[in-house]
């Protein structure tokens, strides 16, 4: 049975219309609704299903970030994860925390906890990087199964269907491995109230990057964060003939 590590990130809720800060150094996060990165919910769900199928023995959820990151760990615990690890990063340093740092943290924890399988979301919907799984796999020298939409666990290997540009592909990779979850891997469950209550009793260990021997000094400098160019308002056309006219005018037909 496999020991599974899932990475969960607290991000601005996907339905929120974000606002750029007036000083153009970032986006407004104070007082804005946050939740678990949607791809990470899928990662947690997959790990919990593995436990239900008796493939996984224990699931640990890790989140790196300021104190509020514990909220998403609690959510993961309520979904069926056994225990949490909060790697505390002060808010100021969190601004320049990148997948390279997170992947080193995940790799250290994986070694410490004798993990066989790491599952993370394919990308976080805030920085849209799509890097953490690949980099964690590289640090550990494990195979990576990115953009997974179906996972089957064998004895010493995984058979994974991946979403690629022209369709799907199937690969086999050795265990231990790192998986990144794509949208269609599963449909995450809702945490029920009794499970949310139970989750409060589950342990969350606290540590710092320093405890793990990971240097989180910035690799980038954010020059600016700005609003995207605004599109000019368009027109509503009365009928299909008018649309055909506009398409001709634009040289599209």
């Amino acid at each position: 049975m496999a020991r599974v590590l899932v990475g969960v990130k607290r991000v601005i809720d996907y339905a929120v219309k974000i606002r750029v800060k007036p000083d153009k150094k970032g986006v407004v996060t104070d007082g804005v609704k946050h939740s678990m990165n949607p791809f990470d919910e899928i990662a947690v769900e997959e790990a919990v299903r593995m436990k239900e199928k008796k493939i996984a023995s224990e699931i640990i959820a890790v989140s790196c970030g300021p104190a509020q990151s514990q909220e998403v760990i609690r959510t993961a615990l309520a979904m069926g994860v056994d225990k949490g690890i909060h790697v505390e990063i002060p808010a100021a340093e969190y601004e320049t925390l990148q997948p390279i740092h997170v992947s080193k943290i995940l790799a250290k924890i994986a070694e410490k906890e004798k993990i066989d399988l790491i599952i993370v979301g394919k990308q976080a919907i805030d920085d849209d990087s799509n890097q953490t799984a690949q980099m964690t796999a590289a640090v550990l020298d494990w195979p990576q199964a990115t953009f997974a939409s179906h996972i089957e666990k064998g004895d010493k290997e995984l058979t994974v269907k991946r979403e690629v540009d022209g369709g799907m592909e199937t690969i086999k990779c050795k265990i231990p491995a790192v998986i990144s979850a794509d949208l269609r891997l599963n449909e995450p469950r809702y945490a029920t109230l009794p499970n949310i209550m139970k989750a409060k009793k589950k342990p969350i260990a606290k540590m710092t990057p320093k405890d793990l021997g990971v240097d989180i000094s910035p690799r980038i400098e954010i020059v600016s964060v700005e609003d995207p160019p605004v599109r000019q308002p368009g027109v509503i056309l009365p009928d299909v003939d008018a649309l055909v006219g506009k398409l001709k005018e634009g040289g599209h037909i």
């Binding site: 791809f39 592909e169 949208l183 980038i220 398409l247």
Partner: protein
Amino acid sequence: MFSTCTRQVSTQLSSQLRRLQSTLIIAEHNNEALSPITQNALTAAKKLGGEVTVLVAGTKCGPAAEAVAKCNGLARVLVAESDAFNGFTAESITPLVLATQKQFNFTHIVAGASAFGKALLPRVAAKLDVSPVSDVIDIKSPDTFVRSVYAGNAIQTLTAKDAIKVISIRGTSFEADKLEGGSTATEKVEGSYSTDLTTFVSQELSKSDRPELSGAKVVISGGRGMKSGDNFKLLYDLADKMGAAVGASRAAVDAGFVANDLQVGQTGKIVAPDLYIAVGISGAIQHLAGMKDSKTIVAINKDAEAPIFQVSDYGLVADLFKAVPELTGKL
């Protein structure tokens, strides 16, 4: 006087730095043809300045290497042909890229931000202990890049401090290199790169005679409003008349109307065609992330309040089941 002097020194310095710069592009292909996104990557690399080397790896590299060698002004085209690269797995190509990097000391390693590039580059970057920059939409200088965050709702400019810059570029943000005027000789790369970490098993690719979604001049996409997969025929008919590619919203993919590789959006394909026609698509943030850089956007939706009308140049508030066949008939 003093400031002119400083400026001269800094110009000299930056031109010297530029000369020391060198970029490796990892070509994407399918053993039969070069992927168009590599042409966009070539343009991005030329914008970085310095010499450009292209690496073609695969089980059969001939066609892609020949095509890319026609690009004007390349320093070299490296070809690594081996069964080890079956399925282009990141686990097999990463050691090859690292060996190439060791030999030539590139300052930049670039690939397109496709499924291939996204899987490979972060693995390479971690091995080099550098932080990669994903899905770059503009290059301000050799170390300053622009990318979109929060599903395209904010544009971030960042300076990468690491010595080697590993960047994936958004294909639609850079012109395609015409692959003309050059004839670089190809050089073979030797070495054993087989790995037992991952084995490629099979591929199930969607077949279509229509243009490829990411590079199409016209894209027609359907959403939940299409109601069924069969109704997508309405869009295929219109697409065939216009020489367009067909895309879809996540809702349409999740409902099983079409295959997931047609999804346009934050987590699907990013497109920026001359004309984008959104049919029965409400226009959620995540969908807009994939298409709002299209030159002209047309929306056909019966809900006049749909957010898609806030980004469309031409909107038609109508029942798509009447409007689309009528449009097809009138073209």
